[in-house]
């Protein structure tokens, strides 16, 4: 595997409001019935989208204004529930390269690290402000700087009417990422397989000191 360092991600935002959005909603179980991850993105939030349509409401995932978005902005405990990697896979395959939220479920977070998709957290008020800013100006440019621990919002990139609608100009918010995850994006070690195989004699030595391997001698 070629090493890919991830330090900055720039793009448009996709605001998805709601707490405790579970992985069954992100990708319903019937779409797990496949031996590959290909095409999962076409079913991302499929049932939520269908229900929104029935209620004649919109859903950000099918909003044309967010079609080119690469930064998903969510609220609290995103990705809770099932450990299915199909959820971050579907999000990543939709073109999302980073997720900003108030908090994430641990398993979803870890699965996203393994895909090279950082999930960064910010204060609830900042995240809400970011969602509002994007809703007012979908073409606002967002830059996540993992090294500086900072997210830059604005200015908007387009020349269309949404530029004028952006009432909330350039601003910055602090973002955090656990130290180890941050390190692994910065040094390109987020795909851990190589690292784990690196000093295999130490793995074997660990195994050979486990009482349940040696027969409690």
């Amino acid at each position: 595997m070629a090493i890919e360092r991830i330090t900055r991600i720039t793009g448009r935002g996709l605001p998805l409001r709601g707490n405790d959005i579970d992985t069954d909603r992100i990708i319903p179980a019937r779409f797990l019935k496949s031996i590959s991850f290909e095409g999962l993105e076409t079913h991302l939030f499929e049932d939520d989208i269908a229900q929104a349509r029935e209620q004649k409401a919109g859903h950000p995932l099918v909003e044309p204004a967010y079609e080119r978005a690469t930064i998903l902005v969510v609220n609290r405990n995103f990705g809770c529930g099932s450990s299915r990697e199909h959820a971050p896979q579907a999000i990543r395959r939709r073109g999302v390269r980073a997720v900003v939220g108030e908090s994430f479920s641990e398993i979803f977070f870890g699965n996203s690290v393994a895909l090279g998709m950082p999930c960064v957290t910010g204060a609830a008020a900042d995240v809400a402000r970011l969602q509002s800013t994007i809703e007012q100006a979908p073409d606002v440019e967002i830059t996540i700087d993992l090294e500086a621990g900072q997210l830059q919002c604005g200015p908007s990139t387009g020349s269309g009417p949404s530029r004028a609608q952006s009432r909330d100009g350039d601003w910055r918010m602090a973002i955090t990422l656990p130290a180890a995850a941050r390190e692994s994006f910065l040094d390109g070690s987020w795909d851990a397989t190589g690292l784990l195989l690196d000093r295999f004699e130490e793995v074997e030595a660990t195994k050979q000191r486990l009482p349940y391997v040696t027969g409690w001698r």
Partner: protein, 470 residues
């Protein structure tokens, strides 16, 4: 230095500290199934890697298994593809597979313990969030994603950060009609569905000490529903007695040495905890979820909350749940009509769960217009239940008696809710669409409560359920 079980097991399995500060953690037992592994084996092949320790890896098939007609090839060709892939991959790697002909097939979290594969002091990983179940034995067990399954297959290791440990003391006696399921639903209601993020939950206290292994598994199973990736109970004599004689448990003299080691792993009395929570078991009543996450529950004699009752940050969640469920704020949960009753899942489909449900249905009949099914957690549970005649108790009462698997817990087989059906379910998740219909509705509760609801056709208080014919 006094230490918790979590710290002792973590340290024992630490290979080294990685450059990013994470622990390279050896995984003592890797359990795999058909849904989250085919892509992992493909990734291995793409990188020219093999399975490093096939002797520490065991497979079964559970999520997609049809529970009625199990003849091959399955009618559902996608399910057939998934099982075929698992058969090919495990055969090529030399990994034992407990398949449909083995007599030992079942939900991965049911068969690990009943075969004695799950043992105290192990690190256990599986591509399934309910792997926390195995923590009931004093193992450090957690769910992982497919890329991490790849890593464990390739190296038997994971790059991990250690958790903080929260001790949850459950003390006092449970009253009749109140079960382990009610205890864990109450813990999740109290601490929140994300309260456990970053923590391992250590369940302790005299109420947990008195619990059987099956009950401890029910509690640990739903740790993840409270946000905790790991949940465990310290090993004690109950643990040792359960494991004696199990197929993969140590035998003879080795067993006694193993037992002494297992008991030594329990958290030291003066161990440091990052947090401690006390729960009074004696005041817990039968719990029923009314919403769209497992923290949204009430006692069966309570009413649903109103958005105005809670802090402003929670109002939207409650309003969304009430709308999805089609329930009114302040309505009693008792009397809620059901369409389907499901006794099954890795939470509550062990023999003792089936016995409790059977006690309730004996001499009764499922209400008209209710479909009721019992899906044993494993072929071994099914066979043991049949030896006791439980299958007849259920079928005579109008329940369907099915083959072992995950079934309607997540509806990856033919067992699904339809439309807006309401299901009284002994499973673990009431998420939107969880049971196979995007608009279907799930009410989580203990197996005994499911059985009572099946008979009454609506949610009833199992404590008031009168047994005709007694």
């Amino acid at each position: 230095m006094p230490a918790t079980l979590f710290e002792k097991v973590w340290d024992l399995h630490t290979v080294r500290t990685l450059p990013n500060g994470q622990t390279q953690l050896f995984i003592g037992l890797h359990l795999i199934h058909e849904v989250t592994t085919p892509q992992a084996f493909d990734m291995l092949r793409a990188r020219g890697l093999g399975v490093r320790y096939p002797d520490r890896t065991f497979a079964t098939v559970d999520h997609i298994v049809p529970t009625r007609d199990q003849r091959r090839p399955f009618g559902d060709l996608m399910a057939e593809d998934m099982l075929s892939a698992l058969e090919r991959n495990t055969k090529a790697a030399g990994v034992p597979l407990f398949d449909l002909h083995s007599g030992a097939q079942g939900i991965v979290h049911v068969i690990g313990p009943e075969l004695g594969l799950t043992q105290p002091g192990m690190t256990i990983a599986c591509g399934d969030s309910h792997t926390s179940t195995h923590g009931a034995f004093g193992a450090v067990a957690f769910g992982i994603g497919t890329s991490q399954v790849r890593d464990v297959l390739a190296s038997q290791c994971l790059a991990m950060d250690p958790s903080k440990v929260r001790r949850i003391n459950v003390s006092g006696r449970l009253t009749p009609g109140v079960y382990a399921k009610d205890v864990i639903l109450e813990i999740i209601r109290r601490l929140g569905v994300n309260g456990g993020v970053g923590y391992a939950y250590e369940y302790a206290g005299d109420a947990v000490d008195r619990m059987t292994m099956d009950e401890r598994m029910t509690i640990c199973n739903m740790s993840i529903e409270g946000g905790a990736r790991v949940g465990y109970v310290n090993p004690d004599q109950t643990t040792v007695d359960y494991l004696r004689g199990k197929k993969y448990a140590p035998q003879g003299e080795e067993f006694d040495k193993a037992a002494a080691w297992w008991l030594s792993l329990a958290s030291d009395p003066d161990a440091h905890y990052d947090d401690v929570v006390d729960i009074d078991a004696s005041v817990i009543r039968p719990c029923v979820t009314w919403g769209i996450n497992p923290g949204q529950s009430v006692f069966v004699d309570e009413r649903l909350p109103a958005p105005a009752d809670v802090v402003s940050g929670e109002r939207a969640s409650i309003a969304e749940a009430l709308e999805f469920m089609g329930f009114d704020e302040g309505q009693p949960i008792k009397g809620t009509r059901i369409d389907v009753a499901f006794v099954g899942s890795c939470t509550n489909a062990r023999l003792s769960d089936l016995r409790e449900a059977a006690k309730i249905v004996r001499g009764h009949h499922v209400a008209p217009n209710v479909q009721a099914l019992v899906v044993p957690g494993s072929q071994a549970v099914r066979a043991a239940a049949e030896r006791e005649g439980l299958d007849r108790v259920f079928t005579e009462a109008g329940f369907e008696w099915r083959g072992a698997g995950c079934s309607m817990c997540l509806a990856m087989n033919q067992d699904k809710l339809e439309g807006r059906q309401v299901c009284a379910s002994s499973s673990n998740r009431n998420f939107k669409g969880r049971q196979g219909s995007p608009t279907g509705r799930t009410l989580l509760m203990s197996p005994a409560m499911v059985a009572a609801a099946a008979v009454a056709g609506e949610i009833v208080d199992v404590r008031e359920f009168t047994q005709h014919g007694d």
